[in-house]
Structures are given as C-alpha cells and as structure tokens.
C-alpha cells in the first residue's frame, strides 16, 4: 500500500477490493500482483499506456477473463468470479470499450440480453422490455427514438446509450467503464460525464478506465496507475498534478520519487 492510498482510506469497507491479482497469457504477465479497491460513491480512475494491463485487470472483475491468482472481495466478502454471470450477481456491471452489443437486434433485446423478461409461460415479453428500455434510455438520452431498429444502424452516441442503459437498469452497485468516451463527440462526452457524476451521487462505485488523463482528472476521486502489468501506485487526485500522474504513467515513478528534471523532460 502506498502512502497516498492509506491517506485517503475511509472508515467504511471498500465495496470492491482486488488483492494481488495475477493474469498471464502464455508466459507474459499481463497483470502482475496488482491490488486496487473502490468505495461506494467513489470514482477510481485506472490509467496507463497501451498494454499496461488495465483492461485485463478489469476483465478479471467483470468475469470476461477470470484471474489466474489473487482474491476479489465484494463488500468485504471473498467472492469467486469465473464468468460474466457471476459478476452480475454481485452487482458488477461493465460497459466495454467495444460496447459488446449484438448489432443485429434492437435496443431492448440488447439491454435485456441474458436477462430477458418473460411471461409466465416463458415467452419473451417484448412489450415489457421495450417499455423498460424506453423508460431508461429516455432518461439517459431524451433524443433517442429508434427503439425498433437493429443497433448497428444507430450512431456511436446512441449505441453508447444502449450500453450504459444496460449497465444502469439492473441496479449496478459497481460499474466498470472501459474507455467510455473514446468513440464519442464532445456533446456526448459531456453527457457521459454528467452521468458519471449522477451515478456517483447515487452511491455507485465506478472504475473508470481511460488513457485520457484529462477525463480521469475531471471525474475521478483517486487514480490508480499501471505500467507493464504492475501497479505503479494509487494517488488521491486532489494531492497530485497531471504532470505527476503522467510521470507515473510513463516512467513508473511515484510523485515523491520523481525528480524535477524528469518532470520537465515529460512536459516539454
């Protein structure tokens, strides 16, 4: 544990704690002994360059690719997450960078994929699902009108709305957002930012993965930095500068370890 992290520790137990997580592909340690945590109503930014292992770490939490080693605690209880269904039962929802939408079916079918509403006889209750979808997406994106078309014919922002609606509809307590604004225009990015703030105020804990340090600085409470599969450290956003975080991302040194000269070479 770093000094910075213990300084921000709150008296309540973290809603998620990942301890000593290891994931390897062949002989490569994509994630090597990484520990991060997240409290309710908190946004933790997870940053790092390409191949730093941030997505891989988070895929261990979402069940997309289970960890090879380490422990995951949800609300203080040790859990085992071996597939996306496990993650969902613990209230962990994920918005993937690719959005993970089935392009050929409509918004409602995507929102309820794997968790369809059925009639007592086990048939799909499409009307009920469409109704719920209209309600949720209408709140997120009032301009959204195209509920009956395959999502492939929607714009990037609309597709994002569908993916976000899916995550928030099922009462997520823990939300993972992998590069949520990477494919969006300025207006839509602003919308996502508002949403993050709102969800946070509802007490949802959010892991925000991004390589855009400005995004992270605006939204996150704490920032965890990864480099080459290892955790460089977790810092309190209010106590560091962007340049210091940049130094962590690029040369893997904590603010107290980095020299003035190194900082200057980064910023020029």
């Amino acid at each position: 544990m770093t000094a910075a992290e213990s300084a921000t520790a709150t008296p309540t137990a973290p809603i998620v704690e990942m301890r000593n997580i290891r994931v390897s592909f062949g002989g490569v340690h994509a994630v090597d002994n990484v520990s991060v945590d997240l409290h309710a109503g908190e946004v933790v930014g997870l940053v790092g360059g390409n191949g730093a292992g941030k997505s891989t770490l988070i895929r261990a939490l979402s069940g997309a690719h289970p960890a090879d080693g380490g422990e995951i605690y949800v609300k203080g209880e040790k859990v085992s997450i071996s597939n996306p269904r496990d993650a969902r039962t613990y209230g962990i929802e994920t918005i993937y960078q690719t959005l993970a939408l089935a392009d050929n079916v409509d918004a409602a079918a995507n929102m309820f994929l794997g968790r369809e509403i059925t009639t007592p006889l086990g048939s799909l209750d499409d009307a009920a699902m469409e109704s719920a979808t209209r309600e949720v997406i209408g709140r997120l994106n009032p301009n959204f009108q195209r509920f009956k078309v395959p999502v492939k014919s929607l714009s990037g922002g609309q597709r994002q709305s569908v993916a976000i609606a899916r995550a928030v509809h099922f009462n997520a307590r823990i939300l993972i957002m992998d590069e949520p604004t990477a494919a969006l225009g300025p207006a839509e990015t602003a919308q996502v930012r508002d949403l993050v703030t709102e969800l946070k105020s509802q007490g949802i804990g959010i892991f925000l993965i991004s390589h855009d340090i400005h995004d992270v600085f605006d939204l996150a409470d704490r920032i965890s930095v990864m480099l080459h599969g290892k955790l460089v450290g977790t810092v309190d956003k209010d106590k560091v500068t962007k340049d210091e975080v940049l130094a962590m991302i690029i040369i893997g040194k904590l603010p107290e370890q980095v020299s003035k000269a190194e900082l200057e070479t980064l910023t020029t």
């Binding site: 690719t98 089935a102 392009d103 050929n104 079916v105 994929l113 369809e116 009307a127």
Partner: protein, 437 residues
C-alpha cells in the same frame, strides 16, 4: 429483420399520404425482403404457367409442389437457425437416411418380427416416429457437442457426419431397401389418403385464420397497454384480410384437386360411398400440414423464446453474447439438436412418401436445404435470417425444379439454372443491402 423506420411515423391514422413503396411497407411493418421474395416467386410461377400452357398453376401441380417442398421446408427452418448462429450442417442428408432406415426397421422388423407383435399395429407409426426423432436428436446433440464444447468447426464435424452416417446407413441394412412401411406411417408422406380431405382442410383454414386474427388483435392490445405507437387500423385490417384470403385460397386450391379416378373408385368402394360429381377433394396433404406446423413452432422459438434471442445474438456478436452471460455453447448445441430432430421428421415424410427407406435417401438434400435458407435471406455472416424466408426459399427451389421438369428442360440445364439462380439471388440481395446501409 425489423424494418428501418422512426417510431414517430407509425402513428398516422388514415391512409398514407405518400404512396411510395417504402412508406406503404412501413405502415404495414412488413419485412421488405420477404415481400420481394414473394413477388419473385409469383414471377417464377406466372412465367412457368405461361410456358407450360397453364399446367403449372393447376391445382394438381400446386398440390404436388406443396408436397414436394415439405421435406426441404421442414429442414430449412432449422438450417436458418444453424446458419444464423454462424454454423453449418452438412450432415442432414445422411441423418435423414439413417433415421429413415431405423424408423423403417422399427415398423417392419423390430416390432413386428423381433418382438413378435405383428405388422400394422395402430401404435407402430408413433413408436417408429418417436424412435427416429430421438435418434435424430441424439446425433444432432453429438455433433453440437463436438462443435460447441470442443471447438471443432461445424463445417468439419458435419462433413465428417455426412460421411459417417451415410456409411452407417449402408452398414445398418447392407444396402437393402426397407419397405413397404406401416399403413398409418405412410400417411405422413401425403398422397390422397395422406391428406385431410375437404372438411378437415377447411377446419384447418378456419383455425389458421382465427390464429392470425387473434395474433393481430393481441399484439395491438399489448402495444396499447404500454402506450406504444400502434400500427394504423387500416393496415391491420388489410393485413388480416390478405392473410385470411391467402389461407382460404390455398386450402381452396387443395380442395379443388380431386383424387385420381382409380384411387377414388377404390376408396368409394371401401367406404360404400358414391363419388361426388367433381371427384373426392384431396385437401391439404399431411406432410404440408407438418411443415406448416413446424414453421410456426420454429418461428415461435426463434422470435418469442430466449433460445431464439440467443441464437440471433450469437450470430450478431458472439463475444457480446458471451459477455452478456449467455450460455453460448449450450445454445449452439441446441440448434444442432433441433436440426437433427427436423432431419428425422423430414426422414419420416420422405420415406413415407416413397413407402420405403433406403441408404441412399436424402443424398444431396443438405445442399437444397442450405440453398433454400440462403435464397430465403439467411446471411452466412450470421445474425440475419427468418424462418418464413427459409420456407419460402424451399418453395422457390422446388418451383424451379418441378417447373423445369414440367416444361421439359434437360436435366443438365436444370442444375445450371438452379445454381445460377442461387448465386444471382444472393448477389442481388447483398447488393441491395449494401446500398441500403
């Protein structure tokens, strides 16, 4: 595939102001592609009818066409789902042969001779059918298991299956022909005796029309309960009327085809009746009824059940389906089980029609079925295809081949035409889709 249309446009109450094709289709909420296929089929029928001097659209030929299409249509419904989930099943012709032989053996040897219960017992047909369906399901499950859980490509597994089950068929009977079959079982194949007759056919038509109207009303009521935009009343009424007319017309045609005179005379003597002036109406053939029932059931599976939703999602984006927590492997395995069951039912229909089962039965039928699915708009890139399209594709294929026989096209040329039509249809379809996108 749902049509592309903003929801707000659906609320108009009266007739459409702009009578463009697109807005008209939009108010009916009909898949434009399916309608295009119906039109193409109509063109094929009219051309054949003109060239054959009115023979093609005679009740007799249309009735035969319906019976000949049944087996391929039955299997095409399952093949659509297999292809939608980005797989293929090349083994169905061989599954058809082996299940037909086992069903044949059950009714001609195993029950009557080996168990000593005698021929033509009233229960034999259903036992044979159940054994055949169970075997088809088992073979499908085995293929599906290898594909879904071992990750062997479906092309390879079912290509192997094509060889294995064809060989097994020969080994099972040493090349013998199994027949004649149980007299009740034979009814599954159609023919005048294997048809419903006039009264029952009209009863079926009445049931179908009731179902159609109920479906329209129920869907309207459901949408109103949630306050969704409703389809215009005139569109719903028109749809109901057209649908009912098509059902009544089709049944009317089957009823206007009389039994062949010799058979009719025999039947009249057996039952001590006199043949009415127009002959005995044949009515809807049982295999056609089976095919329609299967198309309705599989459409329900595809559109109204989780299974179908998952099949389409897997076809659209396998990774997304996996991340959504869907058991993709089990879903894939189920599509192959369904395919095996349908191949067995098609086997019953085919062998019953021939009144015999041979180890060569169904050779090459997998290609006809795949062609039917593809002509019906099923996309090999996955996620796209409708059951109705597959059935229509089967009718198109059968119309082409029997139409060409009727007008005396040489066999070699028939194959060339069918092949060319297949490629042209798919090419035209992907051209249209690219333009629309």
């Amino acid at each position: 595939m749902p049509e592309v249309r903003p929801v707000t446009e659906a609320t108009h109450k009266g007739a459409p102001s702009k009578r463009s094709m697109r807005s008209l289709l939009a108010s009916f909420e009909i898949d434009g592609r399916l309608l295009g296929m119906v039109l193409a089929l109509a063109v094929v029928w009219v051309v054949f009818n003109i060239v054959s001097g009115g023979l093609f659209l005679s009740p007799r030929n249309l009735w035969n066409l319906s019976v000949q299409s049944a087996a391929v249509a039955i299997m095409a419904t399952g093949m659509v789902l297999v292809i939608v989930s980005r797989n293929i099943d090349l083994s169905i012709g061989s599954i058809l042969a082996v299940t037909a032989l086992v069903m044949g053996l059950v009714q001609t040897e195993w029950i009557p001779i080996d168990l000593g219960l005698g021929l033509n017992q009233p229960y034999i047909w259903i036992v044979a059918l159940a054994v055949g369906i169970a075997l088809g399901a088992l073979i499908g499950a085995f293929h599906g298991f290898l594909i879904a859980y071992f990750g062997i490509p479906s092309f390879i597994v079912t290509l192997g299956g094509l060889l294995v089950w064809r060989g097994a068929s020969f080994a099972l009977v040493s090349g013998r022909t199994i027949g004649p079959l149980d007299s009740t079982f034979q009814l599954l194949g159609g023919g005048p005796r294997g048809s419903l007759g006039e009264t029952l056919s009209w009863l079926v038509a009445a049931l179908a029309i009731t179902g159609l109207v109920y479906g329209i009303v129920a869907s309207r009521r459901r949408r109103r309960r949630y306050g969704f935009p409703l389809r215009a009343v005139w569109a719903d009424v028109t749809l109901g009327v057209i649908g009912s007319l098509v059902v009544a017309g089709a049944v009317g045609i089957t009823n206007s085809y009389p039994w062949p005179p010799v058979l009719a005379a025999e039947y009249a003597k057996e039952h001590g009746i006199t043949i009415p002036p127009g002959g005995i109406p044949t009515g809807v053939a049982i295999p056609v009824l089976i095919a329609i029932a299967i198309a309705v059931v599989v459409t329900g599976l595809a559109t109204r059940r989780r299974f179908g939703r998952y099949v389409y999602s897997i076809g659209g984006n396998p990774e997304a389906a996996e991340l959504a927590g869907i058991n993709t492997r089990l879903t894939i395995m189920k599509t192959f089980i369904l395919m095996g069951v349908l191949a067995a039912i098609a086997a019953a229909v085919t062998s019953a029609r021939l009144n015999a089962a041979t180890n060569g039965l169904g050779t090459g039928v997998e290609l006809q079925v795949i062609a039917a699915a593809v002509i019906g708009g099923t996309s090999f890139s996955g996620g796209v295809g409708t059951i109705a399209g597959g059935v229509l594709g089967a009718v198109v294929m059968q119309s082409l081949s029997s139409g060409m026989v009727l007008i005396g096209v040489p066999t070699a040329l028939q194959d060339i035409v069918v092949g060319a039509v297949l490629v042209t249809a798919v090419g035209f379809d992907s051209y249209l889709r690219r333009r629309r996108a």
